[in-house]
């Protein structure tokens, strides 16, 4: 059962990493323009030559 000693913390750390990534993306305003994000990804006009 000693495997739990590092598996449980690892599972928790991964979950927390996901949570912080979500909170960061929320704070960065990534959910404010869902339609725009879907369209911007297809536009190549932002590629600077």
């Amino acid at each position: 059962m000693s495997v739990l000693l590092y598996l449980v913390p690892m599972a928790l750390a991964l979950g927390l990493a996901g949570l912080f990534a979500f909170l960061w993306s929320l704070r960065a305003g990534q959910y404010e323009d869902m339609d725009g994000a879907a369209r911007r990804i297809l536009s190549d006009e932002d590629v600077r030559k």
Partner: protein
């Protein structure tokens, strides 16, 4: 806007990095290229540091430093071919903050629920195989470590609302929710400390997750309709000509006007603020304000109201603070009374909670006492009571109403109806009488041209081009028919008409007397007349308020839906009578003042009717607030729309029928959902009372019932309109 200077300063503010910034609503965004066009086009300007277009709500945020200004940005946008309107982000910012907060809570609850479920499934699997008590306790303690802080954070929306409800002496739905979550957590900690088999950490978190998802969706759906409504308001954003100290007119947004400002209102423009006429003489159309379709003559000393349409003469006004004139004052006073009357309405979910919460709490207590009396230990009896509270925690019940509302709000949004108040659907569904205002509601907001059948239509293009040179509102209607430039050398004679020389013949457009034409026989008596004469030819056209293209079909549909119809108008009796006759509405009342409209509604209410009021004018605002439910076209007066439960878009009346049909169907889904939630409780509560509920059973029962209720909610939408009696085409492009 011509050469006149424009003052955008009200819309410009400082962003945190010290740049000036402005928000705009942009028209005509339809495809992906708009994003690149606008953002690159603006960023290329010297001084512009940021240009970001939000494709979802069509809002553009621009920031600039040295070298750029609001005027440069606006000019650049129109060069790029986009019409933009400055926009002050409304106080709804608080709503956006709340949406973000709910989403953060949802994220935390989701993270915690997933991780605790991971541990719980290990424990459930271990309980039927070979888990050691030490490992189980370790897993339970880790679960507690995750669940307690997560619930303390993610449960706040419910805890706060429950405390607020208790302080107000009412049991809302959040009281049993909070109690259920807190008890589940508290008991689980005690059980863990006693090294027992069962802990309910996962139940508590799953409950929070489902409920927060419902709250967030509900909030997001309403926020979307609010932002569209705010955009429409910005697109109609109006400017006024303010006279500065030297008497020079400067264009300012009407929001920037202060009491005491001097205002110039040119012929044919809308009045930007309530004011006192200092100079000038004109007729003003107050259809938007009072519903009266004939213009009123004003001169020095008279008051005019914001939204009125100025006629043939220029007026100079002194802006007065809203509230010290007869009409606005009266409307405001009536509003205060009407709003307090409606606040007595209790939402269905809260009414259910009031009945539900005591029953649940009594059942839990009773089952503990019965088990004690039957010789169970105190520990077991308390366990049973807590299991009852957890299993009855109104997860399905709390989702039953919001899930349907989210789906119905979305369906209404697609049908062109912007829902403002959260409980509108419940109130709309029980309506049995529809009261319509006439002008601007049953009729189109803008008047239309009516030509008698025997008129020589070949003169019309010429007349329309001549009308371009006139400032008169009636001529403006005719001018919409114009194809081509205004006629050279046209002269406007204020108060009578315009004239020009065409191929040596004199053309005149104006009053009948000005053109020397007789009164025609075939025009409706409610129309205003405009005459055109070229040499010895000529015609007289009527300009009148036209019914919305589908008005009679919709009124017939409403009657077929079993609703009784009433017409409450501030307009003259003969104008109201002709509309009532055309639509087949028997109960039509004319020349009503705002207070009389409320009296008419009160009379209907006393007769046991639940009334939907549909109106747009300032004079309708108190009636909208007093009615059981209310709708307003998006062109209505701002004060009026603020009272409406929903606004509808477009030139057709169909949204009124769709809203009613959708509300009724949504209400049916809500009742089914409440039935499902009740059924769930009827099955689950005896199991809990009998002591058969383990955490696994609780998890399955709660998620199962929640999913069932949500799926049923998806069936709510706008029912298919009856095939007969609808006109798919728009008569007015």
């Amino acid at each position: 806007m011509g050469a006149e200077a424009v003052d955008y300063s009200v819309f410009v503010d400082r962003d945190p990095s010290g740049h000036d910034q402005m928000n705009l609503v942009v028209e005509g965004i339809s495809d992906d290229s708009a994003i690149a066009d606008i953002e690159r086009g603006l960023s290329a300007l010297p001084g512009v540091v940021r240009a970001r277009l939000n494709f979802t709500n069509h809002r553009l945020s621009v920031a600039w430093g040295e070298g750029a200004s609001a005027d440069v940005v606006m000019a650049r946008l129109s060069e790029l071919g986009y019409r933009a309107h400055p926009f002050a982000p409304p106080a709804a910012d608080e709503e956006a903050q709340r949406a973000k907060w709910l989403l953060r809570c949802l994220g935390v609850a989701g993270f915690a629920a997933m991780n605790v479920m991971l541990l719980s499934i290990s424990v459930w699997a271990g309980n039927v195989s070979d888990i050691t008590p030490e490992t189980r306790d370790l897993f339970h303690w880790i679960s507690a470590l995750i669940a307690l802080p997560a619930a303390a954070y993610a449960g706040q929306p419910f805890f706060r609302s429950a405390i607020a409800g208790l302080k107000a002496g009412a049991l809302n739905m959040d009281v049993p929710i909070s109690l259920g979550v807190l008890l589940a957590l508290g008991m689980s900690v005690v059980e863990t400390a006693l090294s027992q088999e069962h802990a309910y950490f996962d139940s508590a978190l799953m409950l929070l997750f489902f409920l927060l998802a419902g709250r967030y969706l509900d909030h997001a759906a309403r926020q979307r309709t609010r932002s569209v409504a705010a955009n429409v308001a910005a697109l109609r954003g109006e400017f006024a000509h303010r006279l500065d100290g030297t008497g020079q007119p400067v264009l300012v947004p009407v929001q920037a006007l202060q009491p005491g400002d001097l205002l110039l209102v040119p012929p044919g423009e809308r009045v930007g603020a309530d004011g006192l006429v200092l100079d000038g003489r004109s007729s003003v159309g107050e259809a938007v304000v009072t519903g009266e379709s004939l213009p009123r003559i004003v001169s020095r000393g008279d008051t005019v109201h914001a939204g009125s349409l100025n006629g043939e003469g220029a007026l100079t006004l002194r802006v007065t603070a809203g509230g010290n004139q007869t009409l606005v004052d009266e409307v405001q006073r009536l509003l205060d009374g009407a709003m307090s009357a409606r606040s007595g309405y209790v939402r269905l979910a809260d009414r259910v909670a009031r009945a539900y919460a005591p029953v649940v709490h009594v059942t839990a207590l009773a089952s503990a006492l019965v088990w004690l009396a039957m010789g169970a230990s105190l520990h077991d009896a308390v366990m049973i009571a807590v299991a009852v509270l957890i299993i009855t925690c109104p997860c399905a019940l709390a989702l039953a109403v919001p899930a349907v509302q989210v789906v119905a709000t979305g369906a209404l949004f697609r049908a062109g109806i912007l829902v403002r108040s959260p409980d509108m659907i419940e109130r709309l569904a029980v309506v049995d009488t529809v009261a319509f205002d006439k002008t601007g509601t049953l009729t189109l907001p803008e008047p239309v041209l009516r030509l008698p059948a025997d008129v020589d239509r070949s003169l019309l293009p010429l007349a329309a081009r001549l009308a371009l040179s006139s400032h008169h509102p009636l001529a403006a209607v005719l001018a919409r028919e114009a194809r081509g430039a205004p006629l050279a050398g046209a002269m406007e004679e204020s108060g009578s008409g315009v004239r020009a020389l065409i191929d040596g013949r004199e053309a005149r457009l104006g009053s009948l007397a000005y053109c020397g034409l007789p009164l025609p026989a075939h025009l409706s008596p409610s129309a205003s007349l405009i005459a055109f004469r070229l040499g010895d030819q000529g015609f007289v056209a009527g300009i009148e308020q036209a019914l919305r293209s589908d008005a009679s079909d919709i009124v017939a549909d409403l009657a077929r839906m079993g609703l009784s119809l009433v017409l409450l108008s501030g307009d003259r009796p003969e104008a109201v009578a002709s509309v009532a006759q055309a639509l087949g509405v028997r109960d039509a009342r004319a020349a009503l003042r705002p207070a009389e409209k409320i009296a008419a509604l009160t009379e209907l209410k006393d007769a046991g009717r639940r009334v939907l009021m549909v109106g747009d004018g300032l004079n309708d605002a108190p009636a909208l607030a007093a009615a059981h439910a209310s709708l307003s076209p998006v062109e209505g007066a701002a004060l009026t729309k603020a009272q409406a439960d929903a606004e509808f878009l477009g030139t057709r009346l169909a949204p009124v029928r769709d809203a009613l049909a959708c509300a009724r169907s949504a209400m049916a889904r809500i009742h089914e959902n409440l039935g499902l939630a009740l059924l769930y409780n009827l099955i689950a509560v005896p199991l809990a009372v009998g002591g058969y509920v383990t955490p696994l059973v609780a998890a399955l029962a709660m998620s199962g019932s929640s999913i069932l209720v949500t799926l049923n909610a998806l069936r709510a939408g706008v029912p298919k309109a009856p095939a007969a009696g609808t006109t798919p085409r728009e008569r007015h492009p």
